[in-house]
């Protein structure tokens, strides 16, 4: 165990004590067998291990560093089962819908869908309010994120990471800088363009390309508003301009040169460009979807309040949050972690992808929540276009 993490664990001590004062003793008892199992890291963390029990977390790929997982377990005594099984919000929902609807436990306590999917889970009663009363650090949340539209009462979600959408490109393949949404439709790149299966990200760019303004989008989108954008996307897909619609796998095609440019998420490109200097990321001059957030939700069948609270608290500690942000290259939902980030990773604290300048921030527009009745028409239409 490294020096830094042991110091973090000592720092965590008092907070942890506070939490466990409210926690049931059962949690501590449940930790006993685990204690006997004795991981070597255990001794170093020492008395921090007072929550115990187990916690099952389901998250997206490449969304946490290894050290944070280990350190979390060491500090809290919680046996963590972490799965990076979410590839796509829709397939995530489809995979677990049946169990959710039957009231069966899906095998996870915390899931981290994107906000619009979280809104659906809340609406359907598949998730329960987070145990905010057991948390100490939840107040570190950015003020902008404190009145979320996807969670009107604010009880159900706490953002994990936030980010924004833009265009990633391989300068070696494009041969020029990319600045505009129109570049995605440029015949020069025919068959070398990727879009995201995540409809809201793609649709925002397509709507901006058909003349909608950011203000109009922010005010709310109906199916009729989106029609020209859908049509333009369909033309591009049918003509062969668009090579594929993907989820996270676009990274692979960007690296291999199959994509010259594609609609991408900010953090991914931040991670990739570390080893591939030819990769760039831009928020086009017309704008893009942002900030979106992937949010922590507690499934309705979970009874691990203490462990869930410990998880949220751990990652709402600025030092830990900074370490995760430095790894993911996404934007932490915490109010201000600049100093902590500079300590963890000086380069990251100067990375414009993590700290977008004001002119980029001005170009971002948050895709609004869709009316549930209309959402189905959106999804059906998008499925037709993506060829699924």
């Amino acid at each position: 165990m490294s020096k830094r993490s042991s110091s973090t664990s000592t720092r965590g001590l008092s907070r942890r004590e506070f939490i466990t004062r409210g926690a049931a003793a059962a949690g501590g008892l449940a930790a006993a067998p685990y204690l006997l199992g004795g991981s070597p890291a255990w001794g170093a963390a020492g008395a921090g291990a007072d929550v115990g029990g187990k916690l099952d977390v389901l998250n997206w790929i490449l969304y946490i560093d290894k050290k944070s997982k280990k350190d979390f377990s060491a500090q809290t005594g919680i046996k963590l089962k972490y799965s990076d099984g979410i590839d796509d919000n829709n397939t995530f929902f489809a995979k677990y819908q049946e169990q959710f609807a039957n009231g069966d436990h899906i095998g996870f306590d915390i899931v981290m869908p994107t906000t619009w999917m979280a809104a659906r889970l809340i609406e359907l009663g598949y998730v329960q309010p987070l145990p905010f009363d057991l948390m100490e650090n939840a107040g570190n949340l950015k003020s902008e994120l404190q009145d979320p539209v996807w969670d009107p009462t604010g009880e159900f979600t706490l953002p994990w990471q936030t980010g924004y959408t833009g265009i990633a490109y391989n300068i070696e393949v494009t041969g020029r800088e990319i600045t505009s949404v129109e570049d995605l439709f440029d015949p020069e790149f025919k068959g070398k363009v990727g879009w995201l299966l995540e409809m809201r990200d793609s649709l925002t760019l397509a709507m901006l390309s058909t003349g909608m303004t950011r203000e109009e989008i922010a005010a709310g989108v109906t199916f009729n508003d989106a029609k020209p954008a859908f049509d333009r996307l369909e033309d591009a897909a049918q003509s062969g301009q668009i090579r594929r619609f993907t989820g996270n796998s676009y990274q692979q095609q960007l690296l291999s040169g199959d994509f010259a440019l594609n609609v991408a998420w900010s953090g991914d490109v931040g991670q990739l460009s570390l080893s591939e200097p030819n990769l760039r990321f831009v928020v086009p001059e017309e704008g893009a979807n942002g900030f979106w957030a992937d949010v922590m939700c507690m499934v309705a069948t979970s009874d691990r309040n203490e462990q869930v609270a410990a998880w949220c608290d751990y990652f709402y500690d600025p030092v830990n949050a900074a370490r995760v942000a430095a790894y993911t290259n996404y934007i932490s939902p915490l109010a201000d972690i600049t100093d902590e980030l500079a300590a963890v990773d000086p380069a990251a604290s100067e990375n414009p992808i993590l700290f977008p300048p004001q002119d980029v921030l001005d170009r971002l527009v948050q895709f609004p929540l869709l009316d549930p009745d209309e959402e189905e028409r959106f999804d059906e239409r998008y499925a037709e276009i993506t060829g699924a």
């Binding site: 049946e98 169990q99 899906i106 095998g107 291999s256 591939e276």
Partner: protein, 297 residues
């Protein structure tokens, strides 16, 4: 093959036979024959192109999360083949399903094959057709229909009312039964059933006759069928995806990894399975040849 067009249509006329016999000179036949073997060899090679890539990339010293570009040779992945816990769990789950499904299908399908070859009875034609139907139905239809069955909670317990391990098992047994019964049936066809009568005449009871005469004769067919259904179950993706619920089998894990990042351990484990099956194949061939040699001696 080009010679065919040049042939006169009057094949049956004896006079033309002499003409034809002279036409493709021996050297041309040899070239043609050589070319055919070469073509077949290339066909076999084609089957191994992606396999070579899989084995090669199991030694790739990847420097990014995506194991797609060649970054140098290393043994690291092989030194740590079980590094990805999720992958190992998925493989173990798949092996477990394949083993149970094969065992069940061998019993069910073997009995069906025995009935079809051993007896003549009303409706055997219909049964033959029925056995073929699951194989002539696209997997996606099988997958969707089974999923609808489980979702609709059609049957009372113990049939599961949601998708998951039991549902996948039921599905695999279903298509394996078809494969097993058809494979065993093909092997049993032309089988000399009078041997059974002989055993009975010599005073063996029906059970003893089955165990001492019928079953040993069925063994090669059953082994072939078991191997086939094990492989089919292990590799099945589409039907499984529709019915797996939250279970992650080996193919489903790889499908997920293809959306995200492919750890080199996937290639390592795939290569291991490949090498193991080659080893079984070669050993089987050697044993078979030794037996043959012993039998002819």
């Amino acid at each position: 093959m080009t010679a065919v067009q040049d042939q006169p249509a009057t094949v049956d006329a004896p006079a033309s036979v002499e003409v034809q016999r002279a036409f493709p000179p021996p050297w041309l036949r040899r070239v043609g024959s050589w070319f055919l073997s070469l073509y077949a060899g290339l066909g076999l090679l084609y089957l191994f192109v992606p396999i070579a890539v899989i084995v090669a990339f199991s030694f790739n010293a990847e420097d990014s999360t995506y194991n797609i570009e060649w970054d140098g040779f290393t043994f690291d992945n092989w030194a740590d083949p079980f590094a990805e816990q999720g992958l190992v769990d998925a493989l173990v789950l798949s092996l477990k399903i394949a083993a149970i499904a094969t065992a069940a299908a061998v019993v069910l399908g073997g009995l069906v094959a025995l009935a079809l070859t051993r007896y003549r009875f009303q409706g055997s034609g219909f049964v033959n057709l029925f056995l073929v139907l699951p194989l002539t139905t696209p997997e996606i239809v099988l997958g969707a229909s089974l999923a609808s069955l489980f979702i609709a909670r059609t049957y009372p317990s113990p049939v599961p009312d949601s998708r998951g391990f039991d549902a996948v098992l039921i599905a695999h047994i279903m298509f394996c039964v078809s494969f097993v019964s058809l494979t065993v049936k093909a092997r049993l066809r032309g089988f000399d059933w009078t041997l059974e009568d002989a055993a009975m005449d010599l005073g063996a009871g029906p059970v003893r006759t089955f165990l001492k005469v019928t079953f040993p004769l069925m063994i090669p067919g059953i082994l072939a069928a078991a191997l086939l259904s094990f492989a089919l179950s292990l590799d099945d993706f589409i039907i499984t995806l529709f019915n797996a619920g939250d279970q992650t089998t080996f193919p489903i894990y790889i499908y997920g990894a293809a959306q995200r990042a492919i750890p080199p351990q996937i290639q390592v484990l795939s290569s291991m399975i490949l090498f193991a099956s080659v080893a079984i194949l070669v050993t089987g061939t050697l044993i078979g040849r030794r037996r043959e040699a012993a039998a002819t001696r």
